[in-house]
Point group: C2
Chain length 465, copies 2
């Protein structure tokens, strides 16, 4: 096909194209005309903003046809780029030739008007063409890349931990079963139970809830590693913050303690924010104006200030002292609820807060026991508007302490033979955390529902597209 120029390029290097002929392609966002001339907003997806095409009865031979070009039709436009210093947009294209490369039926659902986010979810295959979702999904892409860049620049090894897993290693909630057995009539053993030895993997398998344990094996070889992949929770919770399929980033670092862990997490969050402000200024301006007023100031503020760091015990004291009445009463030992987390980060500190050293009873078996024998070296990061965005810990590297803890919890050592091996052979101090990818997207865009930052969200009773 004849080479065209992307609209992003015209915006970023306008000088190089001013008063020159350019060839562009894109889709009609709006089209209005009189009988003498018309204006088309053309968007090619390469850039948040559209380009204004001016076409005239005297300028193109198929004026009448173009004047009827519907929204969503695809055009090729050849014309001259002209600066428009007095207008809203910095330049426009005076068309010499306009060709319709693809039409659009009149029942196109994304006509020029405000649509509810709920309606747009039902047309998830078209919503990236709207301003809001064009911005959301470009930012999502940029944040993903920023994360890779952040870790790769520091020589971290990206590891693809498995999605199919043979055991509920983390014990982190309900899992989805994977099977190729005939559900109607599965093979059974002599005692009538389902014979999973005949299943595809020769045993019961599920979708992973976390790649952490496998990531630890790599951290104890490469020192600095991270995962970035999909994870799954079969929890029947229909909230604005939970999805059944979501992406997670799990860095794991050997020769590191809890402070190193928090330093890394804080640097990562700041890097991400800096990256999107730098690389998606138009999208961030849009969120700031139409989705979450004050967003850019808030994010800018975060880059230049230290995150707060308090212990769980201090957090409980602060909540008790606040005099605020919570739905779930506060006392030492409880798992902090969203209302508590948000109060800490939004009302008390008004910025991101690490809460550390939680009671061992409410945390996972692999977290390192503190010397008080009551708390573990965990660190959760709470941020305003979203709540918990990161959960992390120093891992229990002491074989005997880990075995004792597993016994307390009824976990069988043999199910974790390879995980225990890591404690036998050079099992140094190490730490890591999990970042919920959709949570950070919500945080940097101001979008309030996880369904609106996932391309095709999977939630209870929903797996469309």
């Amino acid at each position: 096909m004849e080479k065209d120029i992307q609209i992003r390029e015209l915006y970023r290097n306008t000088d190089a194209y001013a008063d020159k002929e350019v060839l562009i392609r894109g889709w009609v966002r709006t089209n209005r005309s009189s009988n003498k001339f018309g204006f088309i907003e053309l968007n090619d997806g390469s850039f948040f903003k559209s380009v204004q095409i001016v076409y005239e009865q005297d300028g193109i031979e198929n004026f009448d046809k173009i004047a009827k070009a519907p929204i969503a039709a695809a055009l090729m436009v050849r014309g001259t780029l002209v600066r428009t210093p007095e207008a809203k947009q910095p330049f426009e294209i005076k068309a010499k030739e306009v060709v319709i490369e693809a039409g659009a039926d009149a029942d196109y659902p994304l006509q020029k008007k405000r649509h509810s986010l709920e309606f747009l979810r039902e047309i998830a295959h078209l919503r990236p063409r709207s301003n809001t979702f064009s911005a959301v999904f470009r930012v999502r892409s940029l944040v993903a890349y920023a994360i890779h860049q952040f870790f790769q620049e520091q020589n971290f090894v990206y590891v693809h931990t498995p999605i199919v897993t043979g055991s509920d290693c983390e014990g982190a909630g309900e899992m989805f079963r994977i099977t190729t057995l005939d559900m109607e009539n599965p093979p059974r053993t002599e005692d009538g139970k389902i014979d999973y030895s005949q299943d595809f993997f020769g045993k019961e398998t599920s979708l992973t809830v976390s790649g952490q344990l496998e990531a630890e094996t790599f951290a104890l070889a490469f020192r600095n590693v991270y995962t970035f992949g999909p994870t799954f929770r079969a929890e029947n919770s229909n909230t604005a913050r939970h999805a059944s399929e979501f992406w997670m980033i799990e860095p794991e670092v050997a020769f590191a303690d809890l402070t190193d862990n928090m330093d890394l997490a804080e640097a990562m969050i700041k890097y991400i924010i800096h990256y999107v402000l730098e690389n998606a200024p138009e999208e961030m301006e849009f969120f700031n104006s139409f989705v979450d007023k004050g967003l850019i100031d808030r994010l800018t503020n975060i880059i230049s200030n230290d995150f707060a760091r308090i212990s769980y015990t201090e957090a409980v004291d602060l909540l008790l002292q606040s005099g605020k009445e919570f739905q779930y009463p506060v006392e030492w030992g409880i798992d902090l609820q969203t209302e508590h987390e948000r109060y800490i980060t939004e009302e008390i500190f008004k910025k991101p807060v690490f809460v550390t050293d939680y009671p061992k009873e409410i945390k996972a078996f692999y977290m390192r026991l503190n010397d008080d024998n009551k708390t573990v070296a965990a660190c959760d990061l709470l941020v305003p508007g979203v709540g918990e965005i990161i959960g992390g810990s120093q891992r229990e590297e002491r074989y005997d302490v880990l075995v004792a803890r597993m016994k307390e919890l009824g976990l069988k050592e043999e199910d974790y033979w390879w995980y225990m091996d890591l404690r036998k052979y050079g099992g140094v101090k190490h730490a890591g955390y999990g970042l919920g990818f959709e949570r950070i997207i919500m945080y940097v865009t101001g979008m309030g529902n996880i369904r609106d930052v996932l391309p095709f969200p999977r939630t209870p009773k929903t797996a469309e597209f």
Copy 2:
């Protein structure tokens, strides 16, 4: 913890540390000593090579203890970096202080000797500590990053297409079912069938075999997009080239035809090769010496030459003319087998070859019908040593032609309502391809078995770790 310097840094910027005191941490790879002095190869995972530590009876206070430090033990070493121009390694560390940070049991399975790849698969949690797998998994990480960089630098949007899917859209082979129903005693409808409306997603769901159809929805919004995620095939094939869980990259580009598609794929492969040669010279040297002699020459060659491009019809003619006897006889219309593909790329062209325009009968429904009505605008990339590494096509953007083709194949339009919508609303020419991530890793490392380029491979009857 007291800050140390990574061994990579010592190798890359030796000048800055020569004759200075440094603090490093790492794991013992070898340790040999007399009663006066000893040598430890210390590796911290940050770099392919280890550092030689020299420790002396007179130099450190715990000489006897360190002399017994076993393989895999973790050490902290403080000492002076001394250049060693006559030795194999460019420098060594003269130890002043050595602390054992973690011991290692004597039954450590990775003792200093040659191990078979098969044995190492059984200890997949430890094999990244071996030279071979240290090299494989760092290269894997770098190739992943190179792919992101390649696309992001060209303004492609990274899209996470869903893993859980409600239908076998591509019809590309057997799929894994996902369920939360009680397998022993599933709910049934009145007529005795399993009641999937009570399953987690309210219907039958599976693990995705491809994100292409969803990626097309994004390409027709953002123009240039790519996926990079896990995909699954429940095929019971135990070969060196197939895994049940593998990663795939699927770029999709609007306003593009088959030639644009091949240009993009060729540029991507060259970019990847260039990136690993540049960023993993030690690892590539290792593969070249111990895994696949001539690898670096071959890869260097590929960067500087055009890929061949022939039609399927030409490929069949060449195979017939070759006089070679194949296990599967060649005639126009057959699906090319691995033996044919490898003959074309390894014997005839001795370089990567795109084969285009396959008979429609052996290709997927969404590929664009050529004017001959017999072939479709497909392009597969074959490479020496691996065979097919990329499968791509221009997509059928013409609504009526697509509907007719789906009817021929017995596909129901209503199952693809959203995919058909793309043809109704600005459905321009577009094209894309899928790159098997493990295949490219095998190609650039020379590793012969897909199980040895996946961190924790999943294959029939195998889902360990």
